[in-house]
Amino acid sequence: MLKDITIGQYFPGNSAVHRLDPRFKIIITGVFIGMLFSADGFLGLAVGAVFLLISFLLSQIPLKLMIKSLKPIVPIILFTSVLNIFFLDGVPLLRLGFIKITDEGLRTSAFMIIRIIALIMGSSLLTYTTSPIILTDAIERLLSPLKKIKLPVHELAMMMTIALRFIPTLIEETDKIMSAQKARGADMETGSLVQRAKALTPILIPLFVSAFRRAEELATAMECRCYRGGDGRTRLRQLHSTGADFFALGLSILFLDAVLLLNCLIG
């Protein structure tokens, strides 16, 4: 049951978007978010949406998957749109007692909904086309200039990698402990919320104990393999930026310029 949980939502593939240098993908995603937030009007958003559409078509990710990525944010979308519709002043279109809907409210809420949806879809596209481990690697490299101000970039990336590595192991272990406790008569499915939370204690304690033991063994094994932090480390996987990466980045900046230009022209 717990095995079905997937961390990250990587969708393996070999499309043009998959093949982009992950560092560039992160920067391009940043530029895309820039487009969405600098857009003043619907036309600006449309430019961003076109960029998203191009990337989406190139990535060969099924549309179903993209829509699935929106599921967790449905409450947020509803919440913002309701707030915007009812509480913004403007020309009233409809009045029901103390509730009024204004044109400005409708406009803003539509604007916000499109912006949020595009934002989530864009960042999902990044995680769909880049495996978590490569993403971590790219973040480490992008942040490496910050080592100069003593930010432990390598250590943070190492922690991420180890966390990703141990998620399946610990999930499997949780499953085992749960079965073992159930076999001893633990009741985890009935009772009030408080009771059920309390029933988790006999699962969490053995899980923590074993996680600490694993951590110690892993530390020894890492020491045996000459681990000494990030200094003087080389990497097996080298990232090479190609012409395509620069082209994609250039294109995204072009779109951002278009959005800014539209703002000036219309505003």
């Binding site: 990698t161 694993r214 080389t234």
Partner: protein, 288 residues
């Protein structure tokens, strides 16, 4: 070049006791009581012992994970207490542990094998070559892009061994590498270990409590209570059936059979450790 890759002399070790200030300090329990052991290059040595015999502790002294409280350990002529040489020592003597899950660092097999090389600062081109070689030598090359949790226990342990081999060490210490594996995985790992010893001449030190595994070695060191009590070729060690039983260890079934036959008055030889030999000896007895 030193004749012995590892040389331990009168190694003593104890863990520091933690105690409350109000309590009287507990007596220190010596884990190793003056262990002296030389490991010649290219050999396959098994260290046998019951739980708490100190066999894992002496193993951890062989690549400076633990430092002796008394005595000295030399690895390829380097004193393990010399902190500046720590990484030279660890790249000469690799170590494989019991639980394969707890020694794999990366989420992709080949990345994990490269971990030690990345730490050592090996250039990427050479790293690629060494990773591929290491994976091929344990027969896991086809799995190089898998994620470790998709592999069986035996396969994971072979990946862990590949991660050590990639360092091109002269010696590998394996601390009960098969204890958590199923019979199939155990066979795979043992086959790999023997191949590394025969084909690549890597010195092997196998810490174990399985007799069948120890019988593969060309030398067995038996430890009990922090001391070495026997040291010799498997035949000689196993022929001391009574002493082995006294320290809580078994002997191979055929040796035990010969021992029992001998005890009941029949002429038999407890130096027999493999089944064919035993069958021949029994035939001879029956014919007489």
């Amino acid at each position: 070049m030193e004749k012995n890759i590892i040389s331990a002399q009168k190694v003593e070790f104890h863990y520091n006791n933690e105690y409350d200030e109000n309590e009287a300090p507990k007596p220190i329990k010596q884990v190793l009581k003056g262990v002296s052991l030389d490991i010649p290059r290219g050999g396959f040595t098994a260290v046998l012992g019951h739980n708490g015999s100190g066999k894992s502790t002496i193993a951890k002294h062989m690549n400076a994970i633990l430092l002796p409280c008394g005595g000295k350990v030399w690895v390829d002529g380097i004193d393990t207490c010399d902190e500046e040489m720590l990484f030279d020592i660890r790249s000469r003597v690799g170590m494989v542990f019991q639980n394969p899950d707890n020694q794999i660092v990366a989420t992709i097999v080949e990345e994990d094998v490269a971990f030690a090389l990345e730490n050592m600062g090996v250039p990427p081109d050479e790293m690629r070559e060494r990773v591929d070689d290491a994976l091929k030598s344990v027969g896991m090359y086809e799995y190089r892009e898998h994620s470790p949790h998709q592999l069986s226990g035996g396969q994971k342990q072979r990946v862990a061994i590949a991660g050590i081999i990639a360092m091109r060490p002269e010696c590998i210490v394996l601390d009960e590498p098969t204890a958590m594996l199923d019979p199939k995985g155990r066979k795979e790992v043992l086959k790999t270990i023997r191949r590394l010893n025969n084909k690549f001449g890597i010195t092997i030190i196998l810490i174990t409590h399985y007799m069948e595994e120890a019988a593969l070695a060309d030398r067995i060191v038996v430890m009990d209570n922090g001391e070495i009590i026997m040291d010799g070729v498997p035949r000689d060690v196993f022929s001391n059936v009574e002493l082995m039983k006294k320290v809580g260890l078994d002997v191979p079934q055929v040796t035990e059979l010969m021992y029992l036959l001998g005890k009941s008055g029949l002429p038999s030889d407890t130096h027999i450790i493999d089944e064919d030999e035993c069958a021949n000896a029994l035939l001879k007895l029956l014919n007489e």
